[in-house]
Every structure is written in C-alpha cells, then in structure tokens.
C-alpha cells in the first residue's frame, strides 16, 4: 500500500543545475538553456521511490528567502504553504553562496537534503570538499553530484528518505561569519596551480603575445592534422587499406555475385559506387583527418585554452554581431562544419546562431577540405595561398558584418568564465574525441553515402552530363575556367576531395593556369562544404532559412570567383 503523495522541492541559487537534476529525478528531460535564470515558471513532475510517491517542484533560482523579488516570495510562500521535503542544490565551486540559503531554509524546519552539484568543476579548480564533515555540521544528508554526467543521482534517490530538518546552531550568530566558518572547515584549496599557471594564462591573452602564441598553436595543429592526419594517415588508409585490400576485395566479390555487371553492380563498386567511393571516402579520407582534428580540439578544450581564444577574438567577432563565445563553433567548423552547425545551439540568440551557420557554410573550410587544399597549395606558388586566405577572411568579415546589419537584434555582452589552464588529461581528451567520432560515424558518414548514391543516380540517368552542360557557360565566362571544371564543381559538392583533386589534375596536366586554379579553389572553398552540412542547416533552422542561405552562397561564390578572375587578369 503506498503512502500518500509527498511534496518535494528543488531549491537553490541560479545556475546550479536544478533543471538538470529535476530532469534526472522525473525522468522527463526539461530543456536546459544556457541563458541564466530561465526557470521562471514552476515545473512539476512525479517521482516514485519504492512505496513513496513524490510531487516534485522545480523552483526559480534564488539567493535568499527574504521576500524581496517575485521569485523569492513565490518560493518562500510555496514552501510555507505546501510543506514537504526540500532538496537544496548547490554549486560545489560556489558553496559560500549556498550556505546562507541553507541557514535560511533551516528556519522553516522542513526536512532537507543538500546536493552539491558540479563537483567536476570544483575539482578542476583544486577545491576539495569534505562532504562527511559538511553533513556532520549541517545535520542533513549531503550528496555530491555531477548532474551533466548523471553521477550521484542514484545516491540522491536513495538518500531522499533520510531527509531531516537541519539542526545547525544559528541562534545569535552572524550569518556571514557562520558561512565562512563552515566553509573553512569543509573546503580545502590547492594553490599548487599558482604563479606559473597565471603567467601562462596572461601570456595567452596578451595583446601581442596572445596572437603569437595563437600562431604557434595553429602551426602545431597544422602539423598534427595536416601532416599527420591528412598526409600520412589518409595515405595509409586510402592507398594501402582501401586501395590494396578493401576495394579490390569488394570488386572481386561483386564480380562473383553479379558477373553481368549490371546497374546494381555499378551501384556498389562502380565509378560512383557506394563501396568504392562512398565508404572509402568516408573512412579512408575524411575519418583520419577528422579524428586528428577532434583530438587536437579536445586537447584545446581540456587544457582550458578555448575560452582564452574566445577572449582574443571577441572584438573581431563583435564586429559581426557575435561575441567570443562563437569561437567554439567557428573553430570546430575547421574540423567539421556539419558538427559545428549543430554546436551553434550554445549561442544565446537566434541571430547569432543564424550568422554563425551562414559563415560556417560559406567561409569556414572543414578539415577534409583543408587537408586537400593545403596539399594543393604546396605545389603552387606561395602567393596563391596568401590570396586565397585573404579572400576568405575578407569574405568572412564582410558577410558577417553585413549579416549583422541586416538581421535585427542587439549584440550580446561578453562574459565568459576562464577555467584554470591545465595539462590536458588523457582520459578526458579520449572521451571527448570518442564522443565526437561516434557522432560523426553515425550522422555524417551515412550522408556521404547518400551523396555518393545521388551522384550515382545522376550519372545513371545521364543527368550528370546534362547539368554540366548547363553550368559550363557560367564556369567558362564568369570564372574563366576550362569547360571540364564544371564537372569538378558538381562532384565537389557531393564529395569534397574529388572536386579539389579534379582541379589538381587539370592544373598538373597543364589544362589550367595558376590563376585559373586559384580561382577554382577559392570558389570551391566558398561553396557549402557538403551534403551533410545542408541537411544540418535544414535541421537547425528549417527549410526556408536553409534554402535562402544556399541560394545566397552559391551565386555569391561565383561572384567572388568572377571578381577575382577579373582582378588577376
């Protein structure tokens, strides 16, 4: 027989993870937004623990129970009227803010549990909390959690039944002094980080040295991703693993299964075959490059460098209506634009998300693109690379600025927390890289296969040549390129590297001049990176917006190419 319904209240300072824990307890995912203080309405849910049913109330973030503002009054009234168990959720790295609230809650005499959340962040800052001591001092169960990972939630569930009124002695004592005293007894700070870490941090954000260190880091990333990933690893997978084993083996297999070489044969192992082209592209070419990029990115993330990079680019970004926060998707875009477009969700306003999505698709080349482009620039005169880079940056800032003027909305002020710099930890880097790779294999690779399949269909229906004939006049007259180039553009959209290598072939065979090759590369860089990216744009912003962006990007790329061609003549 179940006991009657009991009330359970989640109370705490703003931004401590109340909504996330609410979601864990009720089993329903409550949207957790980055914009602080968004829990302005009361959410309710159900929790069943053994025989006891609870009605859980998620309250707005408050700093005290003195009824100054609406939120505080609402919460206090709720607790006084309805009675029930109070779960106070605190931020482990800001425990001093939570304790005054605990003292006030204690006055209400309700049974309590204290959840100390975000323990991963406090640990990162070298703060160690003696939870047993805290529990002894407060007289209520204390549960450490990391809500973003789900750690400690089970323990919380088990200990809710142990909730009891806090019995801490507060009569006549000054709340501020008491808070300090409690905090001093339970928390220890490791100041080992100290001087050196601060110096490096200051160096990385210095007006001049910051950019120098950034250049150094970029070079290291280039060596790792460009040389190791795009060069050595791709070479290995493309030529040895696929070239010598998988592709011939597949062809052999299909030769046996379908000696007649019909349409189905071509579909799998033909020129645009799913295995010979689609799978090999996804795994042999893109995956090694993207893996090295994700590793480098995770290292930058875990070391704490990324927020400092955000500080460096903040001013420039504000010119485009963004702020330093946008550095995350923009840098991630250098690895994979599709994944970066998904990451735009961390940005606060829709305007920022739109601008970043547009810039990613237009002016941020992904690692697969970059790997091949850099390889090509290696064989061309140095000035071509500089022109390419110059055009790209000009386009980025000009379109960004224009988008900022055209889309309504004000700039968001830049506030960012900079966690302490530290040596990246292998297990964190591995975990983040694996998570991104898993996403990539599940989401992006099927789309490459789809792209290959579309190419196959177009070719089979003889539409490929028809489209090329339509595009040729534009390619020849505006861009000044030979007619064959239109073929490379079309394929380049569905399969990144084929486009670029198509040009490379033409250039090395002398069918294109240096200027022509440069124009071709600029245009293909400005194109939307790939099919997967278009799908992600649709998913994030809807058909209409994605369509408008695509309809802007392609003609614009041609326009820029045309202007460049005209200038260089």
């Amino acid at each position: 027989m179940s006991v009657s319904l009991q009330n359970l209240f989640l109370v705490g300072n703003p931004n401590v993870g109340k909504s996330l824990i609410f979601g864990h307890l009720t089993g329903a995912y409550t949207t957790v937004s980055n914009y602080p203080g968004t829990t302005v309405t009361l959410s309710r849910g159900r929790l069943q623990l053994g025989n006891q049913s609870y009605e859980i109330f998620d309250t707005p973030g408050i700093n005290s129970l003195t009824p100054i503002s609406g939120d505080e009054k609402v919460t206090r009234d709720l607790l006084v009227e309805k009675k029930g168990v109070v779960i106070q959720i605190a931020d482990a790295k800001n425990l001093q803010r939570a304790i005054p609230l605990t003292l006030q809650l204690q006055e209400l005499g309700l049974p309590m549990v204290l959840v100390v959340n975000m323990c991963d962040e406090s640990e990162r800052r070298g703060i160690t909390i003696d939870f047993a001591k805290l529990e002894a001092l407060l007289g209520i169960p204390v549960v450490p959690t990391v809500a973003t990972r789900g750690t400690g939630i089970e323990q919380l569930r088990r200990r809710i039944s142990e909730a009891k009124p806090s019995r801490i002695e507060i009569a006549g004592k000054d709340s501020v002094a008491l808070t300090r005293s409690i905090w001093n007894q339970v928390a220890t700070l490791q100041v080992a980080r100290g001087r050196f870490g601060e110096k490096v941090s200051a160096f990385s954000m210095h007006r001049w040295w910051g950019f120098v260190s950034l250049a150094g880091i970029l070079y290291l990333v280039y060596l790792f991703v460009g040389v190791l990933g795009a060069g050595i690893a791709v070479d290995f997978f493309e030529h040895k693993v696929f070239g010598k084993f998988i592709s011939p083996a597949s062809i052999w297999l299909f030769d046996k299964l379908m000696p007649a070489h019909g349409i189905l044969y071509d579909c799998f192992v033909g020129q645009y075959g799913l295995i010979t082209m689609g799978v090999s592209y996804g795994f042999a070419i893109v995956l090694p490059i993207v893996t090295t990029f994700f590793i480098a990115f995770s290292i930058m993330e875990d070391s704490g460098y990324l927020p400092r990079l955000a500080v460096m680019v903040n001013r420039a970004f504000q010119w485009m209506g963004l702020n330093g926060k946008a550095v995350l998707p923009m840098v991630l875009g250098l690895g994979c634009d599709t994944m970066a477009t998904l990451t735009t969700r961390i940005l606060e306003t829709r305007k920022q998300r739109l601008i970043v999505t547009l810039l990613l698709a237009l002016a941020v080349p992904c690692s697969a693109q970059l790997g091949i482009l850099l390889g090509m620039f290696g064989t061309m005169p140095a000035w071509t690379f500089l022109v390419w880079l110059g055009v790209l940056l000009t386009v980025l800032f000009t379109v960004g600025w224009a988008a900022n003027q055209l889309i309504p909305g004000a700039n968001e002020p830049f506030i960012m927390e900079l966690p302490p710099l530290r040596i990246p930890q292998f297990k964190n880097v591995a975990k983040k890289t694996m998570a991104r790779l898993e996403w990539y294999v599940k989401e992006a690779i099927p789309l490459f296969l789809l792209g290959t399949f579309i190419l196959f269909i177009l070719d089979a229906l003889r539409l490929l040549t028809a489209i090329q004939r339509l595009a040729t006049p534009l390619v020849v007259s505006i861009l000044g390129l030979p007619a064959e180039a239109s073929n490379a553009f079309l394929i380049g959209f569905l399969r990144r590297d084929f486009g670029a290598t198509g040009f490379f072939d033409m250039y090395s065979r002398g069918q294109m001049t240096v200027v022509q090759a440069l124009v071709a590369l600029v245009v293909i860089t400005l194109f939307v990176p790939c099919v997967a990216n278009v799908f992600m744009m649709i998913k994030e912003h809807g058909n209409k917006v994605a369509l408008r962006m695509v309809c802007f990007i392609f003609p614009f790329a041609f326009l820029v190419g045309g202007i460049l061609n005209w200038i260089l003549k």
Partner: protein, 77 residues
C-alpha cells in the same frame, strides 16, 4: 572611494560593492561567476577584454559590463 570597474587599474585588487544592471539576469550571471557584493577580485587585464581573477578562476568580460560593476579598492590582497 568607489569607482566603476572599467576605470580600475591593472594589477589592483578590488572588492565588489554592487552590480547595477537593469537586467536582473545579468546580475545573476555575475553572481554565479563569483562576482557578488563582497567578493574580492583582482583586475589582471583590460585589453583585449577585461579579465578578472576571482577566487580560483578568471572571468573575462566586456567593458560595457565592467562599467556596471561598482567596486572599491583593496590595498592588500
């Protein structure tokens, strides 16, 4: 002698007196980052952004936000 943080000097230590923002959410955000009234901070940078050292972390912010934080100088850290 109170002053706005944006007028502070690099290297000096300050105590936060109040954050006068029209937006309550911004005040909350600042408090969540450790910049509540009574907090002790050190100004470490003004360009390219303001950077403050707050307890064990650093916080970066725009000048426009530093304008809204009223502080008083602390002569010893």
């Amino acid at each position: 002698m109170e002053l706005q943080l944006s007028l502070g000097e690099v290297g000096h230590h300050y105590q936060v007196l109040r954050t006068s923002t029209e937006s309550k959410l911004l005040s909350e955000r600042l408090a969540g980052l450790g910049m509540h009234p009574g907090a002790r901070v050190q100004l470490t940078q003004k360009r390219p952004s303001f950077v403050l050292k707050v307890e064990q972390t650093e916080v970066a912010l725009d000048r426009s936000i530093a304008d809204k934080i009223t502080v008083i100088r602390e002569l010893f850290s």
